[in-house]
Symmetry: C2
Subunit: 305 residues, 2 copies
């Protein structure tokens, strides 16, 4: 089995379930994660160890990790907000392979999100990354609002690179760049990833995390592909993704991403009908229509199979 041309991390079970107003029962989460883990996806962000009073949607993180049944070859990612979250996650060290930690590129967004300065977050994440690497975990760090901030507007690339360098030096093997409120455009994205590769070198994996806030998510994927980015994060059914403003869409839908990449002749390892089936089951369990386009339209049928 050769490596797919494009690597996708499915983030719906964390990013999606976290943003559901009604808490999804643990059994439903386990069912959906087990379905996703059998779509051929290689990276799956399953939960986060956060304060239950802040994000009650993910209070069952330990139980989810214990109950899911994931085949070999699927790397499970746990989102880690801080050292206390890492302590809690490490109690289940045998149940996952990767951690993902995060901060924002702008002071205003970081303050709104985690009530810290960027420097305070960086200092904390340096400890998290060091300890996680010490525990044998693969480490991703996400830089939110890397393409623009809803509070500060333009975010200088130099600031993003400076943060990325600190994270890499602290042990991050993968750096994700989040278009957290969908401000990025394809021209910007192309220049961003061209420069990121030059500035950050070939020793680190660079991942794009786009939102479809203004319908431009897959257009940004195309631009990133042209700049040789080959790693993306997406959410099945178009779940989650911190919708700003209310009613706006967040993450790009995994099914739409996979459909486009496959049609372009790029492999992902994901079976599109299986991915659509997982999104359809999520739609049933959530009891509302989800935003994924390919979930409605189905795969392209070229009538030549």
């Amino acid at each position: 089995m050769s490596a797919p041309a494009v690597r996708i991390r499915e983030v719906g079970p964390r990013d999606g379930f976290q943003n559901e107003p009604e808490i999804l029962p643990t059994a439903a989460k386990v069912e959906l994660i087990d379905l996703l883990a059998r779509t051929g996806v290689r990276r799956l962000e399953v939960t986060s160890f956060v304060r239950a009073d802040v994000i009650p949607q993910l209070a069952d993180a330990a139980e989810v990790l214990q109950r899911i049944d994931v085949p070999p070859g699927v790397a499970l990612t746990v989102l880690i907000p801080n050292e206390r979250g890492l302590d809690a996650a490490l109690e289940h060290r045998d149940r996952f392979q990767e951690v993902n930690c995060f901060l924002s590129a702008s002071e205003a967004h970081n303050a709104a999100n985690v009530n810290r300065t960027v420097e305070e977050s960086l200092t904390g994440l340096e400890r998290v990354l060091g300890r996680a690497r010490g525990a044998g975990l693969r480490c991703e760090a996400i830089i939110s609002v890397a393409f623009g901030c809803p509070y500060e507007g333009r975010v200088p690339r130099e600031r993003v690179w400076a943060i990325a360098r600190r994270l890499i030096a602290a042990g991050a093997q993968e750096v994700g760049f989040g278009d957290t409120t969908g401000m990025a455009n394809p021209a910007q994205v192309r220049g961003f990833f061209d420069e990121a590769r030059t500035v950050l070198g070939d020793g680190v994996e660079l991942t794009a995390h786009f939102h479809n806030t203004r319908g431009q998510g897959l257009a940004n994927v195309v631009a990133a592909l042209e700049a040789n980015c080959r790693s993306f994060e997406s959410s099945f059914g178009e779940l989650g993704g911190c919708p700003v403003p209310a009613g706006a869409t967040g993450n790009i839908a995994t099914e739409d991403l996979v459909s486009m990449l496959h049609e372009m002749g790029l492999t992902t390892g994901i079976d599109l009908p299986a991915g659509i089936a997982a999104a359809r089951r999520a739609q049933e369990l959530l009891g509302r229509r989800l935003g994924s386009h390919t979930l409605v339209a189905g795969p392209v049928d070229w009538r030549d199979a």
Copy 2:
């Protein structure tokens, strides 16, 4: 006032209103067209002269043309299905500037859509184009399912070019290529428009008409831009576009297209807030939520105005 870098034809008043299950009152159409005509858009497809028993949604074509109040500089397009439609339209010759006629690249889709062979359609359109040019009208011809057919699957490009050559020889000054059921992908689109320009030459305007059926509409726009296509058709509010299957989205939304192009530094002549206001008014008049993303999210705010 210099020409915009990208030309957009707003097709919502024809393509959108035609696909509404409940017929929009003429007064509502007139109000919306008058709003759209003041957004800065230079090309506006307003209606079609079709049989009222087949498409009752557009039975008021003549009344719409007479009642709308459109400022100078906006070219109005009328969709013409056949010579009888042209006869009806020519009774209002002073009220519009362009005609648009259409056929499908595949026999199966053309038969399903207009119950004719492609050759029969071509013969008819040659007469329509000749007479329309004779009446001093600018002529566009659209080739539907140019990127793939839901019945036949792959559509050979040579067939598309052969049809396009006939239409150009008959008088078409603009040829549009329709991704009628959203089968196109960016890699295909890039090659398609590169080849189209080579094969069809510089004497004709080439226009892309993409659908967002699988969320990939704007990604295809980016690919077409890279192949130097600078003319697009879209629909305000993401109205219309022959949704297949039921519930699927059709046309790309004008607001999403304009937002992306402006963010990329490409001018369109369209005032985005005015376009959003027109879509919002359509949403009110139709009484349901429309699919346009930027209608919900609003323009990108860089905080540096």
